[in-house]
């Protein structure tokens, strides 16, 4: 049967009505997508298949589109370097003179630092590996500030990794696919970064609002910040390492403290991604979760059924390899506490069979491994990627 002979041929919907229906359907689809999107979470799974596929397509095309601009920029740079070589040479010489004095100071400070570390037996952050990437797309609107970088899961980039340029922090990775990562900039409206003010060591949260200068929120104390104070990452929360330069504090026109980002002075195209994992991620979790081996069982009276569990509390040195510097004050404190305890308790409490002890035993078993990484044997270093 031909189409014109069909009974449906007579049923003609007005175009205006069908356009309105199409608009409503499209709106419903859009709203559904909006409320099913979970952009701000840090879990890799939350990034979504749509975004991963989108980034897969966007990155190579953007790289191809931006190639001519990169060539032009390289050409302009080459010409500038040729014509401004003398002034550049003068500037570099002046910088070198300053840097030499700083080098002497740095060597002295490094030496002092190493001695203090050795004295304290301090375990410092391991060296963090990094990969370099080229930004192929850059969005800078009021609702999203992000960049696409042409390195991804093949270089072991993970969600949460901090991204820097030569001057300071740029943002963090929020989505990873093969060959591409999306970097959420510090200026993005959803970006929240724990920072500290170098002068006062006071903490704040750097909150992006879509503008070039994110604001400092949740500051405590009467005068925690002054003009031009250096702002660094605080490392709180463990997503970013401590001490990465972020920028300088300035008073905004709205009367709020804001940060002029150090990264803005640097190149916009090349970035470095720190493959940083905090210590909780680096630790050998299965090993830390292992319960301590029970001591050899000796013939004991039946009333001491839970003694093997309670023993680690009574003699911490026997189970946890605390360093002597840490163990001795603990021992001293225990000795000081003993007489007062015995003086106040005239009659020792009767041993109860088993009711409270299982409740005690579990926290002991869980909190015990927390001391392990402090004096961890060198084999633990194998867990840290270098």
């Amino acid at each position: 049967m031909a189409l014109r002979d069909s009974p449906f041929n007579e049923m003609r919907l007005p175009l205006l009505l069908s356009a309105a229906v199409a608009l409503i359907i499209a709106l419903v689809v859009g709203v559904t997508m909006l409320f099913s999107d979970r952009r701000e979470t840090i879990q890799t799974q939350a990034y979504g298949v749509t975004r991963t596929m989108g980034d897969h397509v966007v990155a190579p095309v953007s790289s191809w589109i931006t190639a001519p601009s990169r060539w032009v920029q390289n050409g302009v740079n080459a010409v500038q370097q040729y014509f401004f070589a003398v002034s550049e040479n003068r500037r570099l010489r002046a910088e070198l003179t300053v840097a030499r004095t700083w080098r002497t100071t740095a060597i002295a400070l490094q030496d002092t630092n190493e001695r203090y570390r050795a004295l304290l037996g301090l375990k410092v952050n391991p060296p963090i590996p990094m990969v370099s990437g080229l930004a192929v797309a850059d969005s800078r609107g009021p609702f999203a500030n992000s960049r696409l970088v042409n390195v991804g899961s093949e270089k072991k980039v993970e969600v949460g990794n901090p991204v820097l340029n030569e001057n300071g922090l740029v943002g963090r990775v929020v989505g990873v696919a093969e060959g591409v990562s999306r970097v959420l900039l510090l200026t993005d409206v959803t970006s929240r970064t724990p920072v500290l003010l170098d002068r006062t060591d006071s903490r704040a949260i750097l909150a992006g609002d879509g503008g070039p200068n994110p604001r400092l929120d949740y500051m405590r104390g009467p005068d925690p910040v002054k003009e031009n104070d250096l702002v660094l990452t605080s490392g709180d929360g463990g997503v970013l390492p401590r001490g990465i330069p972020v920028g300088h504090a300035v008073k905004g026109l709205d009367g709020r403290w804001r940060v002029v980002l150090s990264a803005d002075d640097g190149a916009i195209d090349y970035v470095r991604i720190l493959l940083f994992k905090d210590f909780r991620q680096l630790a050998n979790t299965p090993r830390l979760s292992e319960l301590p081996a029970p001591p050899p069982t000796a013939p004991a009276p039946s009333s001491v059924t839970s003694a093997p569990v309670a023993r680690p509390v009574a003699s911490p040195e026997a189970q946890s390899p605390l360093s002597p510097t840490l163990a001795k004050p603990v021992e001293r404190a225990v000795q000081q506490a003993k007489p007062s305890a015995t003086a106040s308790v005239t009659k020792p409490p009767p041993l109860k069979p088993s009711a409270p002890k299982p409740t005690l035993a579990r926290p002991v078993a869980v909190s015990k491994p927390a001391a392990v990484p402090q004096a961890a044997p060198p084999s633990d270093a194998g867990d840290i990627p270098h």
Partner: protein, 169 residues
């Protein structure tokens, strides 16, 4: 000889949509001019406004939906933000279409500005709803301003096609 051209979907929907996508993509290039970041206009508002003024269509809303999703994927904004903003603006212009037809350039430009403001306002509201934070007003206003500057492109599209379908004059 007449200049009237048939209103085929390829001519008035597909080609402008592709042009908008290319323009949006070009403006995501990571470069600076004299240390300043280039603006980021919402090119898709050109088609959202022009398509609503030219004539009602079944294809246009779905095309706007796809363009909005594409913009969200390119810019990294919440998926659906620009799709919803564009569609609501398109619907609003469609409602007042009878008033806008045949108006002079300044009036249409003003209407385009109102439509862009509506889209930006929706963007702010959606961001507040999804991210529990308010974008900087200056950023929103500056994006609205640069989008307003691309209206001549939309006007050219309207002038080219508004007489093509006599049923909707």
């Amino acid at each position: 000889m007449t200049l009237a051209q048939p209103l085929t979907p390829v001519r008035w929907i597909l080609i402008p949509a592709l042009q908008v996508i290319v323009a949006t993509w070009l403006f995501t290039m990571p470069y600076r001019v004299f240390g300043l970041q280039p603006p980021e206009p919402v090119f898709a508002m050109v088609t959202a406004f022009a398509w609503a003024v030219i004539r009602p269509s079944v294809l246009a809303p779905f095309c706007l939906l796809l363009m909005g999703i594409g913009m969200d994927l390119i810019w990294g904004s919440p998926l659906g933000l620009w799709a919803v903003s564009l569609l609501v603006s398109y619907g609003a212009v469609l409602l007042v279409r009878n008033i806008l037809i045949g108006q002079q350039l300044p009036i249409l430009w003003l209407a385009f500005g109102v439509a862009c403001a509506l889209a930006e306002l929706l963007g702010v509201l959606i961001t507040q709803l999804v991210s529990h934070t308010t974008p900087r007003a200056l950023g929103v206003v500056s994006q609205w301003g640069v989008t307003l500057a691309v209206y001549p492109w939309s006007h050219r599209l309207i002038e080219r096609f508004d007489d093509a379908d006599v049923r909707f004059r």
